[in-house]
Amino acid sequence: MDLKTSIAWLIPLFPLAGWLLWGLFGKYFKGLSGYIASAFIGISFILSVILFFIVAYSHGFTDTLYPWVHAGIFKVGVSAVVDRLSVIMLVMVTGVSTLVHIYSIGYMQGDKGFSRYFSFLNLFVFSMIMLVMSNNLLLLYVFWEAVGFCSYILIGFWYEKKSASDAGKKAFIVNRIGDFGFAVGIFLLFFATKTLNYEKIFSMVPAMPVLTVTIIALLLFAGAVGKSAQFPLHVWLPDAMEGPTPVSALIHAATMVTAGVYMIARFHVLFSYSPTASEVVLIVGTFTAFFAAFIALTQYDIKRIVAYSTVSQLGYMFMAVGIGSYTAGIFHLISHAIFKGLLFLTAGSVMHGLSGELDLRKMGGLYSKMKITAITFIVGGLALSGIPPFSGFFSKDAILADVYNKGFYFAWAVGEITALMTAFYIFRLIFLAFFAESKVDKNLHVHESPKIMTLPMIIMAFFALTIGFIGIPPFNHSIFYNFLHVDFLNVNNFAPIVNNTPWYFLSLISVAAGLIGIYIAYLLYIRKAVDPEKIKSMFKPIYALSYNKVYIDEIYDFLIVKPLLAFFNFLWKVVDIKVIDGAVNGIAGAFAGFSVKARKIQNGMLMSYILTLSIGAVAILFYYFIR
């Protein structure tokens, strides 16, 4: 094992060690576990950066740690792929994780599950790192599920709250539905290629029938839909906000939910050879982007707004990978991880300052009381709205420009409208929370968060401001593009560029959309030019639709959950107890009934016994006779 492979394997080792340490001996560490855990992840981050430079200045590699499952021709090892794509992801994951860990020390201070929290958080980081590094589908699937499990356990971290444990369960089960498709995709892939190793699969894909590739790609995409909370499996993500806020920042904004995008980027060969599957990805992504933004317009729970914006932004990423602009998708993934992580951390800070209050209607005027939080939040909001020079501008516009230039005008138009809506709802949140007149409970002591929380926020805000510059010169020939493009050379270019509209023209439109959105929010909530209530009553049905999240949960409950439960009850009460067990008991009963009858033959009369005996003898003789 040479240096770079040992570095690669050391990266997941630290979080794993952390998990075991806090999980088993957490109670002996008390408050210390937070610092040590952060240090562990920090080491992983440093190692990731080192690995990043190793890979950047040499080339990627793969390595197998040990053979894992060998059964017949099914041979899978615990093996890692380290290329440019995975090191970028590694740096992002460990970096954001480090900051979130540090933030959590302050946020979770005094919680009785402090060590438990860090143990699971470390387990999550471990799983996420392994997910990114895995070199075969089985390992990917393992950690794909493992991050889902961590999400489950962390959403339900405050299990005393029924809503929290419900949300955790919902997240796990909805993810499982996606994973079911993912698993079937793996089966089909194994059936078609007899291997689960990435390189071997990719080398075989061009020769495979398009239909097979399409089906496999769509099934894998089903997993991505579940994990990345795309329509129609997005329902778990808003509920997942029941978990501690740093968890939302790490898992439900920066890392786990982007695993779907990463997976498609990783399987770009597969998707690019199936234009149909890519088109489905594009459609789902576009629709989700719009749909989630629409819901976010009217919500009052700040975390839910940010959650829906996550769903919406993930939609953008799927748009990108759906048109074959994988670098753009990953770029948005990175920048989104930072600014959305930032938004969640600041939202957590608001929550912390208001003792857990999340309702926008009970906030206002917080700017003066928590300046750092407010400013960093605004940085995040501007990045989300795509205002230059914040990172969201570069990454989102890279996607939209590609969508336009590749000729998907409708998707582009939807993307622009969504951008407007995005700017509106995030600034609605900012204005209502920080600038409008205060509706905060007078008894509440509003305070800025401690340094240990604000420091990560400031660092994040710094990167949210600057990370976009790796996208310069914008779009197809940026530093980032040139760096990452190396990994995407073997794609089938199914969506060629048809326009050559200059980027500044297109980005002008997006920036305009963003600014309009912000301005509308300003008019409504600061200038009070129009009373929001009036608009509300003007578009009552649409408002209700948005406010009630398009009734998706209710529809699922009514159309799927209730009938299924009734059916299951029928199966148990009627089929199992009455029919099957009834048949068994019926047979037993028939024997018993027959026995009651047969007992009458035993009338105790010796003569009748003798009679029966002799008739039997006669009959037997008769049988021999006629034989």
Partner: protein, 167 residues
């Protein structure tokens, strides 16, 4: 010899019929003794004198004495006569007739194996039939013989227990 066979057959069948038809058990018992004697005669005809003697000793002697003793013991005259109802008679006769027909058909149409043993009449006569039986009984069938003796022992105990006044 032929004539003797028919004489014995007639006696046997006739006395057997009498056994089952006589009303008085004592008469039946006496006819049964007669029947046993006739059977003993058959055994003599079949060159098994030892068996014939045993037949008379065990059956006609021991068992029948026991039966007669019991009949006396129960003081049969005091028992109100046990009546037989008609349908039972009919069923009995019918079944036994069918049985008889079957047996006769079976014997008539059945195939007989070739003689396989070595104990022809002359061999048995040379050794002596008692000795033949005895030798077999105490060598090859030793175990069965012992078991039979145990059975008898058990039967004695059983009979004693049953006949005891209270048990």
């Amino acid at each position: 010899m032929e004539a003797l066979f028919y004489v014995f057959s007639f006696i046997a069948i006739f006395s057997a019929l009498m056994v089952v038809t006589m009303r008085n058990p004592l008469t039946s018992a006496l006819y049964l003794v007669l029947c046993f004697f006739a059977l003993a005669g058959f055994y003599v005809l079949l060159d098994m004198q030892f068996l014939a003697v045993m037949q008379i000793l065990v059956y006609a002697g021991a068992i029948m004495v026991l039966v007669v003793l019991v009949i006396m013991l129960l003081n049969i005259s005091k028992i109100k006569s046990v009546k037989t109802d008609l349908h039972q008679k009919i069923i009995g006769i019918a079944i036994s007739l069918v049985l008889l027909v079957e047996i006769i058909f079976y014997i008539a149409y059945g195939t007989t194996k070739k003689p396989t043993g070595i104990f022809t009449h002359s061999v048995i006569d040379k050794i002596g039939n008692t000795r033949v039986v005895g030798e077999f009984l105490f060598t090859k069938y030793m175990l069965s013989f012992e078991i039979a003796s145990i059975l008898l022992f058990v039967a004695i105990i059983g009979a004693y227990l049953f006949a005891k006044k209270k048990f």
